[in-house]
Amino acid sequence: MDLELTINGRQQTLDAEPADSLLDVLRDNGYTGAKRGCDTGDCGYCTVIVDDDPVQSCVTPAKKADGATVETIESLGEQEDLHPVQAAFVDNSALQCGFCIPGMIMNTTAALRENPDPTEAEAREAIEPVLCRCTGHKKPVEAVLDAADRIDSAEELAHDGGHAAAELDDKDGESQ
C-alpha cells in the first residue's frame, strides 16, 4: 500500500505492507536513527515525533500514520552543527552505547517544546519512556535540564539581535 508521509519536512509517498509499523517503514527507507529494542512499546528507542507528539513508532501501525508529519533524529543538527538537545547530551556525557539516545533526544525535544523550563522531576518524566541501561539516567536528566537552558539562551539570542552570542560561544567552549 502507498503511504503519504511528511518526513523531516519532505513530502513522500512510501511503499508499505499492511502489517508494517511506522518503525518498519522508517527503517526500510533509511531513517535508521530510530532503533528497534522491543517491538512492544516498552523501551522507547524507536521514538519519533508524529504531529508534534512523541510516539513509539514500533507500536504505531504505518497505516495509522498515513498523512502525518513525522520528525526523526535525522531532522535535528549535524555533527558539526548540533541541535541544542544533541549538544547537551554530548557535553554532559549523557550517552554510552547510544542505542537509546535517538529515543532520549526525540522525547526531550518534544517535552521541551511543551515545557521549556522543566524542573528536575519534569526532566525525569521527559525521558521516563526510554529505558537506558547504561547511564542510570543521571546524566541524561542533567542533559535535559542543560538542553532547556541552551534553548532558552538560543531564543534570547534570536530576540536580542545576537548580543548573547558571546555567552553561547563560551558555552560551546566547554564541550571539551
Binding site: 535508521t32 523501551c43 548540533l82 547510544g98 525525569r124 542510570g136
Partner: protein
C-alpha cells in the same frame, strides 16, 4: 616493542631474570619493588589529556542517529535474507519428529535447517567467549534434538523477509517425548532428580563435573585451617543468602549479519564483545580455517556480558552456508528474556569467626549456583563469588571457599557485569554487617579494622588457582578514603529520623572490590601509525561496547605522543584489521588493552623522536614531544609532527613510516575498590521503603576520563539497584517462562531512580596505564548488601533474599514483632 622496554617490565609485572626464566613473584620479593616505567606516574599538573573530560569519541554520530549498529547495515545488502528460529516450547524433552514440509513449500523461504541438516554441525561447543581452551564445558549444539529449556533452538529458517520467516516457523510442527524437568536448583543434585545431560556427550568437562547429579563443576579451596579456627573461637556466625535471575536488558538485541565474500571467506558483522574468541570458536565448530573468517564489530548497543558469548553467530553462518546469500539474524526482546543469557541465581552460605577484639579470624563461603540448561561461564562466575569480595579482608588467615554449579531446565545463566561478584558481595557484605552488630561494633569501624590496605599480600584471590602466580600484592588502595568521603556525603553521622512514628530511616554500607582483567589470562594488542599530517591511526583489538574505551585509548595515546586526541583515529574492532584482543570482559579494557596502546604509542614515539633528532640535528635524549611538536630542550628549537610526517614519508634520502606496536599480558589483576552507601526510609506498617540516596565512592586508580568513569559508576549502580529491588524471572510449574517483556520484567525507569552521588578517589596503580585500574564492574556489587544493611539499620530486620520487596520487608517486620 623494543627489547629494552620488555626487560624493564613496563607492565609492572614480572620481569625476565638473568637466566631468562620468568621471575614470577612468590611473595619473597616485594612486588612493589617492580620498576614502574618512567613517565607512568604523571603529576596532575603535568597531564595533558589523561584525567581530562575529553568528548566521547562516538558521541556526535550517536546523537545524530548516524552511528551504525549491526541491524543498520541491512540496506548495504540488497539480497539479505531474514531469520526466524523455532524454539522449544517445553522445558525438557527429546524431539521425536520435525515436520518442515509446510515451511519449505512457502514462497520466499530459502532454507529450513534442522538438527539433521548436513550443513548444521553436530559438533559440541560452548558459547562462552573465553580464552582457549575455555574453562567451560562444550555442551551446546547449534540446533538441538534433546531440548533442556523452553527456548532451545530446534529449526532455523531464512526467508526473503522477517514476516515470511516467522510464518514459515509457525508452519513447522515438532513432536516431543517429554521428560520431567528440574526447576528448583536447590534440588538439582538430589539423586532422585531427573538427569539433564549425558556425560558422554560433553567434551572439555570441568573439574568436579558429575552429570549424574546435574553438576557442571565444583571447587573447594582453603587457606589455613578453617575448622580449627571455628572450633576455638567464641564468636562464630553463619548466615544464608539467595539471589535471583537478572536480565542484562541489553539495549540492542543480539544481531548478526553473515555473508560469503568474493574471496570465498565468511565475513560476519556482529554485536559481540569477543570478536576474536568468536572467530576461533566458529572455526572449530564449522571446521573452517581461522584465516577464512572475519568478524567485524560495529557500534554495539552495549553488552554487560550478554555478548561475551557466541549466541547467534552459528545459526546465522549455517543459514548463509545453506543459501549462499547474506543472512541477518536480529533477535527479539522475547528471545532476549528467555533464550539468550542471564545472571546466575545463587544460594550462598557465609560463616565467620571473630576474636574478642573484633578481628576476623576465619571466613567460609559455600555457593550453589544455577547455571540453567547449559554451562557457559558456570564455574568461573561461581569462582568470582568468593575471589572478588573475600579479598576485601585479605589478612584473614583461615579461609575456605567451595562451590557447586548445577543444571536446571531453566534459562542459561552466563556472564553478566560483575560476573558472580554481585551475588558474592550480597553475602559477604550483608554478613559483615551482621557480624559487626553481633559484636556491638559500628559497621563502619568493624570494616575499618579489617579491610584491605596498600601493601597487603592477597592470597585469597588465588584460593582456587592454588598457585603462587595468582597471589597479588595490593599496590594501590583508597578504601579508607572511599569509606570516609562516602560517609560524609551520605550524612552518616547526622541522620535525621522522620517525624512520623511509622517511618524509620537508616544507612547501610557495603565495601566492594573487583579485578582489572583476568589474572594470567589476557592479551591485548595495538598498532599505531602516523600519517603525513602528524595525525595517527590507532588499531586496537580492545572492544568498545559503548563504555567509551575508544575515547580512553585516544587519551592514552595522545598523552604519550603529544598530539591532540582528535588527531588520533581509533579503529576497533575487526579481526582482519585490529590486532588481537581477548575482548571486552572482566573489566580488562583500560588495564590490559589500554596498556597495550600505551606501549604501542611509546614504540611509535621512539621512532618519532628519531626523526625529530635527525631534523633538529639533536640527540633523542634531549627531545620531548608536546602540543604537536618535538622540542629540543637543549637548543629550544622545535619541529612539528606534520613536518616530521611529510619528511618521514617523502624525504629525499631516508623514508620510513612512524609506527608502533605492542602486546600486553600480565599475571596481575589489581582490584579497584569502592564504598557503596544507601540511605533508606522504611514504612513499618506496609514494608514499603524509599531509597533517599545512593552514594558511591570509588578508587579506580587514575580515572583516564572522569565523566565517562562516573557514567560507568552510575550505570553500574542502576543495575545493582535493580538486582536489589526488582530482578527475577517467574516460571510456571512446567518451567514456562512468564517474564518475556520489559513490562513483565520491570526494569527501573528514570522516575524510579533515587538521587546518586559519585565520588572519584584517585590512587595510583603502578602496573596500570598512567596509574589506571578498572571501573566497569565494580559498581554493580554494592546496592543489595548496602540496602539490606540500611533496612537493618532502620528497623532491625534482616532481608536475606533478593529482590527485597515490600512484602518481604513486611513479613520480616511481622515476625520481629
Amino acid at each position: 616493542m623494543s627489547e629494552k622496554a620488555n626487560r624493564s617490565g613496563p607492565d609492572g609485572g614480572p620481569v625476565e631474570s638473568e637466566s631468562g626464566e620468568p621471575d614470577v613473584d612468590t611473595g619473597e620479593r616485594h612486588p612493589m619493588e617492580w620498576n614502574e616505567p618512567a613517565g607512568n606516574n604523571v603529576a596532575p599538573e603535568d597531564r595533558s589529556f589523561i584525567t581530562e573530560p575529553v568528548e566521547k569519541y562516538d558521541a556526535r554520530k550517536i546523537v545524530t542517529g548516524e552511528a551504525k549498529y549491526t541491524s543498520d547495515y541491512r540496506r548495504e545488502f540488497p539480497d539479505l535474507l531474514e531469520t526466524a528460529v523455532l524454539r522449544s516450547d517445553v522445558a525438557h524433552a527429546h524431539v521425536t519428529e520435525i515436520d518442515t514440509s509446510g515451511a519449505e513449500e512457502m514462497d520466499g523461504v530459502h532454507a529450513v535447517l534442522t538438527p539433521d541438516s548436513e550443513i548444521v554441525p553436530d559438533t559440541v561447543y560452548t558459547s562462552a567467549g573465553q580464552g582457549y581452551p575455555e574453562p567451560t564445558p562444550w555442551d551446546l549444539r547449534v540446533l538441538r534434538k534433546k531440548v533442556r529449556m523452553v527456548g532451545d533452538p530446534i529449526v532455523a529458517v531464512a526467508a526473503e523477509d522477517k514476516r515470511t520467516a516467522e510464518r514459515a516457523v509457525r508452519k513447522i510442527s515438532v513432536e516431543y517425548d517429554e521428560l520431567e524437568p528440574v526447576l528448583d536448583f536447590r534440588e538439582a543434585m538430589d539423586p532422585e532428580a531427573p538427569q539433564i545431560h549425558e556425560a558422554a556427550a560433553i567434551e572439555n568437562k570441568q573439574p568436579g563435573a558429575d552429570y549424574e547429579i546435574n553438576r557442571q563443576s565444583s571447587f573447594d579451596g582453603e587457606i589455613g585451617d578453617v575448622e580449627s579456627a571455628f572450633d576455638s573461637s567464641n564468636s562464630v556466625l553463619e548466615t544464608e543468602w539467595e539471589t535471583p535471575y537478572q536480565s542484562h536488558c541489553v539495549p540492542e538485541p543480539h544481531t548478526t549479519i553473515a555473508k560469503r565474500d568474493e574471496d570465498d571467506r565468511y565475513h560476519l558483522i556482529s554485536s559481540t564483545q569477543v570478536p576474536y574468541h568468536t572467530r576461533r570458536q566458529l572455526s572449530h565448530l564449522f571446521d573452517i580455517p581461522i584465516r577464512d573468517i572475519r568478524i567485524e564489530k560495529p557500534r554495539i548497543g552495549a553488552g554487560f556480558g550478554s555478548k561475551q558469548a557466541m549466541v547467534i553467530e552459528p545459526i546465522t553462518l549455517a543459514l548463509t552456508m545453506a543459501t549462499d546469500r547474506p543472512v541477518i539474524y536480529e533477535t527479539t526482546r522475547k528471545e532476549q528474556f528467555h533464550a539468550m543469557r542471564s545472571r546466575h541465581p545463587m544460594q550462598i552460605t557465609m560463616k565467620t569467626a571473630v576474636d574478642d577484639s573484633g578481628n576476623l579470624e576465619a571466613m567460609e563461603m559455600d555457593v550453589l549456583s544455577n547455571t540453567g540448561a547449559y554451562g557457559p561461564h558456570g564455574m568461573t562466575v561461581a569462582g568470582n563469588v568468593g575471589t572478588k569480595p573475600l579479598p576485601i579482608y585479605p589478612r584473614v588467615e583461615n579461609v575456605r571457599f567451595a562451590g557447586d554449579i548445577v543444571h536446571t531446565n531453566l534459562p542459561i545463566a552466563a556472564a553478566q557485569r560483575g560476573y558472580g561478584a554481585p551475588q558474592g558481595h550480597f553475602a559477604v557484605e550483608s554478613h559483615m554487617d551482621e557480624v559487626a552488630r553481633d559484636q556491638d561494633l559500628d559497621p563502619i569501624e568493624f570494616r575499618k579494622q579489617n579491610h584491605v590496605q596498600e601493601g597487603d599480600l592477597d592470597e585469597i584471590a588465588a584460593i582456587l588457582a592454588g598457585d603462587e602466580a595468582h597471589k597479588r600484592k595490593i599496590r594501590s588502595c583508597g578504601m579508607e578514603e572511599c569509606i570516609d568521603r562516602g560517609r560524609e556525603a551520605i550524612g552518616y553521622d547526622d541522620l535525621e529520623q522522620p517525624e512520623e512514628e511509622h517511618l524509620h530511616r537508616g544507612i547501610g554500607l557495603a565495601l566492594v572490590a573487583q579485578g582489572s582483567g583476568v589474572a594470567g589470562a589476557e592479551l591485548g594488542a595495538a598498532h599505531i601509525k602516523m600519517n603525513e599530517d602528524g595525525s595517527f591511526i590507532l588499531q586496537v583489538g580492545g572492544v568498545d561496547t559503548g563504555t567509551g574505551t575508544d575515547t580512553m585509548v585516544s587519551q592514552i595515546a595522545s598523552e604519550v605522543l603529544g598530539c591532540d586526541p582528535e588527531d588520533i583515529v581509533v579503529y576497533s574492532s575487526d579481526t582482519d584489521i585490529s590486532p588481537f584482543d581477548y575482548g571486552a570482559y572482566a573489566s580488562s579494557t583500560t588495564y590490559i588493552s589500554g596498556q597495550s596502546v600505551k606501549k604501542a604509542a611509546e614504540d611509535a614515539k621512539e621512532s618519532l623522536l628519531g626523526w625529530g633528532a635527525k631534523m633538529l640535528d639533536a640527540e633523542p635524549e634531549t627531545l620531548t614531544v608536546q602540543d604537536g611538536n618535538v622540542h629540543d630542550t637543549e637548543s629550544g628549537e622545535s619541529v612539528s609532527l606534520e613536518d616530521i610526517g611529510y619528511e618521514a614519508h617523502y624525504g629525499e634520502d631516508d623514508r620510513a613510516q612512524v609506527m608502533g606496536e605492542a602486546s600486553h599480558s600480565t599475571d596481575t589483576s589489581p582490584p579497584p575498590f569502592g564504598a557503596q552507601y544507601v540511605d533508606v526510609t522504611v514504612n513499618e506498617n506496609t514494608g514499603e521503603y524509599e531509597i533517599n540516596q545512593l552514594v558511591f565512592a570509588a578508587d579506580l586508580g587514575v580515572a583516564i576520563n572522569p565523566p565517562l568513569a562516573e557514567g560507568q559508576i552510575e550505570g553500574g549502580q542502576s543495575m545493582s539497584l535493580e538486582l536489589a529491588t526488582g530482578a527475577g524471572y517467574e516460571f510456571t510449574d512446567e518451567g514456562q517462562p512468564k517474564t518475556l517483556s520489559y513490562k513483565q520484567y520491570g526494569m527501573p525507569r528514570s522516575t524510579d531512580h533515587p538521587p546518586m552521588e559519585t565520588i572519584l578517589v584517585e590512587t595510583h596503580e603502578p602496573s596500570g596505564p598512567f596509574g589506571a585500574k578498572s571501573v566497569a564492574e565494580l559498581p554493580t556489587n554494592g546496592v543489595p548488601p548496602a540496602l539490606s544493611n540500611a533496612i537493618k539499620d532502620a528497623t532491625g530486620v534482616r532481608l536475606t533474599t533478593l529482590p527485597i520487596t515490600a512484602e518481604k520487608v513486611k513479613a520480616a517486620l511481622e515476625s520481629r514483632d
